[in-house]
């Protein structure tokens, strides 16, 4: 067999073929990457948080901290129980509340409220928080995450939807933009 000519018509056509396939592959990466990155898009530029009601105010007596649950606003029909999200509601007085995420600020385990000692305790790595959500002890670097809230009529409404982590600390981004005084 003779050495194939580097500039033969066939090798040029092969290169053209490679180029066409490469181009199509590059075009196809756009929908693929877009599809894979689709969870990044929040709705209406506000991230993933939306209004959600925790129910009427009389469920939360003054001076007490109670567990409330809400259906996550970004829910799929097949989410099942995972879309039921708990949170701790502390009613200080009058229109003043604190709504804490259930997730420990350390690594997200569910904190439990102990009214007798006035502490939230985490079962995983031993974090503890005071009644106002501030850090008491253990590995967390900060206090509990808080959802911004507002009182609408006789309902307690929070902005929620995203898993609170150090990157997305519940709705505190919204708090910074617009203080929610209730």
């Amino acid at each position: 067999m003779s050495e194939p000519n580097k500039f033969s018509r066939r090798s040029a056509l092969m290169k053209l073929g490679l180029l066409i396939n490469g181009g199509i592959a590059a075009l196809l990466t756009v929908p693929v990457v877009g599809y894979i990155l689709s969870p990044l898009r929040g709705k209406s530029g506000e991230g993933y948080n939306a209004r959600v009601s925790l129910g009427s105010l009389d469920q939360f007596p003054e001076g007490q901290t109670r567990l409330a649950t809400f259906r996550n606003p970004f829910v799929r029909p097949w989410d099942g129980q995972t879309a039921d999200i708990p949170c701790w509601v502390r009613h200080l007085a009058g229109p003043t509340f604190q709504v804490f995420a259930i997730n420990c600020a350390h690594l997200g385990c569910p904190v439990r409220w102990f009214s007798q000692s006035g502490l939230f305790m985490c079962p995983c790595h031993g974090g503890a928080y005071y009644a106002d959500g501030s850090r008491a002890s253990g590995p967390p670097e900060r206090g509990l995450f808080q959802y911004p809230y507002r009182i609408e009529g006789d309902h307690l409404v929070i902005r929620a939807g995203e898993l609170p982590t150090l990157a997305a600390d519940a709705g505190t981004a919204a708090i910074r933009r617009k203080p929610c005084a209730g």
Partner: protein, 495 residues
């Protein structure tokens, strides 16, 4: 039998593979490598095949939906004939596979098999380890129960600590804003398609490299690897003192792999399948999430690291670890292979083994976690209440009621987050106790806002009774001196 032979012959004339297969089977390996120390890799491969088979069998029933996954596991455990056994085999197979991969890696490292010319085999092996751990974690998620749910929360919380893009990464990991249906689908795709596919490809490459480069010879102290001479020496060795892989070496692989399969089945029958624990319902907060065995060390580490080191450690240490493993064959590609001449290698393995073992042991009883029910579940030992004053007994009540017991042992029961208090009166004076209770310190929260003065008085009265008979209470040595001095000075100033 004749027709089988002719069928094989017919096939081979078309496939033309028998030559390659015969060559692979009969390739010569150093006699010293046909050893019981060289069976772990093939055993890991055998368990991987077991995982693929049992995994496919489970997948024909399992429903990768957040709403139904848990129910389908229950059906597997209880309704389907021997479904529980397949789940048990798959679960135990996972543990065995991680263990075998780790043992294989340690053996390879101690025998110097990562050195020239097998650097790339080692690098592929490092990725095989990462994929195996990835399978273990994603598999734990598919067992969609409370541990899986909160384990995902931990994974997301760690991811969220990545600077700048942490939030995006969390959304990518979870497939949305929060742990839900799409999270499970995502992990299902990873566990069933992406990672196993990668694993199969990498295993093929790993085996091809072993065939091409030959299995590592038994390391002899003093026989040094040099790039210039090694290949020639190895060829001579396999010619002079080599045996065909089949049957001289493979029989040990086969017997060991068979024993491992038996052990997996034995564990499956005796200990049964793993979970699922409670339903993945986040509103059930009465839960104590725990990771699977091979991640327990990480659980301990996350509890024991000082808070300020945690984020840097979590983000940087894995990168350093993986980089060190990948660079290892380039940093020590030549020289001694024998562990007898490589003390630092041996010490490194020992240090890692002791550290991982210690953390795993610690995590199995997790002394850093408060015992959430100790305050209402554990009683105060009778001897601490006998012949005590009403105030002291009232203090014992405060002690229980304020959940001190969740973090403090009394009479061997209670949380171990804080120190045991059976002898606290010998360590702290009443004044120090009051200060510690009101202001907290170290890991202890301050109780100043949650205790009335009367409760503090009672509590401290109770705590000061906690000392062994015959051992004195702690006392402030300066106090009598100060009192005496003030008494003297007051008497001297008075005319």
């Amino acid at each position: 039998m004749r027709w089988i032979e002719s069928l094989c012959d017919w096939m081979d004339r078309r496939l033309q593979l028998s030559g390659a297969i015969r060559e692979a089977a009969l390739h010569r390996v150093p006699r010293s490598s046909a050893s019981w120390w060289y069976v772990f890799g093939s055993a890991a491969l055998t368990v991987f095949i077991l995982q693929v088979v049992t995994g496919i069998l489970l997948a024909i029933v399992y429903v990768p939906s957040a709403a139904e996954a848990w129910n389908s596991l229950q059906a597997l455990n209880h309704d389907l004939t021997l479904g529980w056994f397949l789940r048990a085999m798959h679960g135990w197979g996972s543990n065995f596979m991680v263990a075998l991969v780790l043992i294989h890696m340690v053996q390879v490292f101690l025998f110097g098999a990562h050195k020239y010319p097998r650097e790339f085999t080692w690098i592929v092996g490092v990725f095989l380890l990462l994929m195996t751990l990835g399978m273990a974690f994603t598999g734990q998620v598919l067992r969609f129960d409370q541990d899986a749910y909160w384990g995902l929360g931990i994974g997301a919380s760690i991811t969220g600590r990545v600077p700048l893009i942490g939030g995006w990464l969390v959304n990518l990991l979870l497939g949305g804003p929060i742990i839900a249906g799409e999270t499970l689908s995502r992990f299902f795709a990873l566990h069933v398609f992406v990672i196993p596919g990668t694993l199969i490809g990498l295993v093929g490459l790993h085996l091809l490299l072993v065939l091409k480069l030959g299995i590592n010879e038994w390391p002899m102290p003093g026989r040094v690897v040099r790039r210039e001479t090694y290949l020639k020496e190895y060829e001579e060795l396999t010619h002079k003192d080599g045996v065909p892989f089949v049957p001289d070496a493979i029989w040990k692989d086969l017997i060991f792999a068979g024993c491992i399969l038996l052990a997996v089945a034995f564990c499956g029958v005796i200990f049964g399948p793993f979970g699922p624990t409670g339903q993945p319902d986040p509103t059930i907060i009465e839960t104590v999430p725990r990771p699977d065995f091979f991640f327990l060390w990480l659980y301990a580490l996350l509890s024991l690291l000082p808070p300020q080191f945690e984020t840097p450690f979590l983000l940087i240490a894995p990168l350093i670890g993986i980089a060190a493993l990948l660079l290892l064959p380039f940093l020590s590609g030549e020289g001694e292979k024998s562990w007898r001449r490589r003390p630092i290698a041996v010490l490194t393995v020992l240090l890692l083994a002791v550290a991982l073992g210690t953390f795993t042991k610690l995590a199995s009883n997790a002394p850093w976690s408060p015992q959430m029910n100790a305050w209402s579940g554990s009683t105060v030992p009778q001897r601490y209440l006998k012949d005590r004053s009403p105030l002291e007994r009232r203090g014992a009540l405060v002690f229980q009621d304020k959940q001190c017991r969740n973090c403090h042992v009394l009479g061997r029961e209670g949380g171990q987050r804080g120190p045991a208090l059976d002898t606290v009166a010998t360590r702290l004076t009443p004044d120090q106790l009051i200060r510690q209770v009101l202001q907290g310190r170290g890991n202890m929260p301050a109780y100043g806002k949650n205790l009335s003065p009367a409760e503090v008085t009672a509590l401290v009265a109770f705590l000061t009774t906690l000392h062994p008979a015959g051992q004195a209470r702690a006392r402030d040595a300066s106090r009598p001196v100060a009192l005496e001095a003030s008494g003297e000075s007051s008497s001297s100033t008075r005319p």
